[in-house]
Symmetry: C2
Subunit: 123 residues, 2 copies
């Protein structure tokens, strides 16, 4: 969406808001943001928290989130230098909604498991 007089609409395929939504809800984006909602993280600790992500995928994910203004990368002066990731205010707002969503999903695992059994039995 290059025309700022148009209202943002994630349902419109060219809208920047759809791109941002999709970075925030990408496979690793959603988990990286939810982890950063708990605390700031150094890269390697974040990678341990987001179980299963490769170094390359986490690095790409963080770059996309940083570019969209959701995450800040801070280089701390030290030898060797330390790099820390944290949320911007917008990143915090997005991550809070993701955390609420995650809570709903985690609480309803038995509902999902039962729905799958029922669905698979009908096939």
């Amino acid at each position: 969406m290059d025309d700022p007089t148009l209202e943002a609409d994630v349902f419109a395929r060219g809208c920047l808001s759809r791109e941002t939504l999709q970075s925030a809800t990408s496979r690793w984006g959603v988990l990286a943001l939810a982890a950063l909602a708990e605390s700031d993280y150094r890269f390697s600790a974040l990678r341990r928290r987001v179980d299963g992500v490769s170094e390359r995928m986490l690095s790409q994910t963080l770059q996309t989130l940083e570019r969209d203004g959701l995450v800040v990368r801070t280089v701390l002066e030290a030898i060797p230098p330390k790099v820390e990731y944290s949320l911007t205010p917008l990143g915090r707002a997005v991550a809070d909604h993701l955390t609420s969503l995650i809570r709903v999903v985690e609480e309803h695992v038995p509902t999902v498991a039962a729905a799958r059994i029922e669905y698979d039995a009908r096939r």
Copy 2:
């Protein structure tokens, strides 16, 4: 997560809750759920609402959401038969959080656009 005594944890790579989170936040899952939060939809109308989705991708997305108990597919008796999609109570809870997330993202398009300009200027 096959052991129901373990607590669900999206950060654990084998947990069912992570799979469900990722269906709900997939590229088309998030938009299909947000559309169904507005109203029930017939397949073709939903496809028009979710601008850019192919018939095949929407169909796969809806099957995954139905299997996880987020969406219900109802065949209405008519000639020709009509198929309608709606949210389950769990789908509604998930979609409400996605809708709040979408609102934040849509409202902050100028912040994101400014962050991108700033990021790209630093490279």
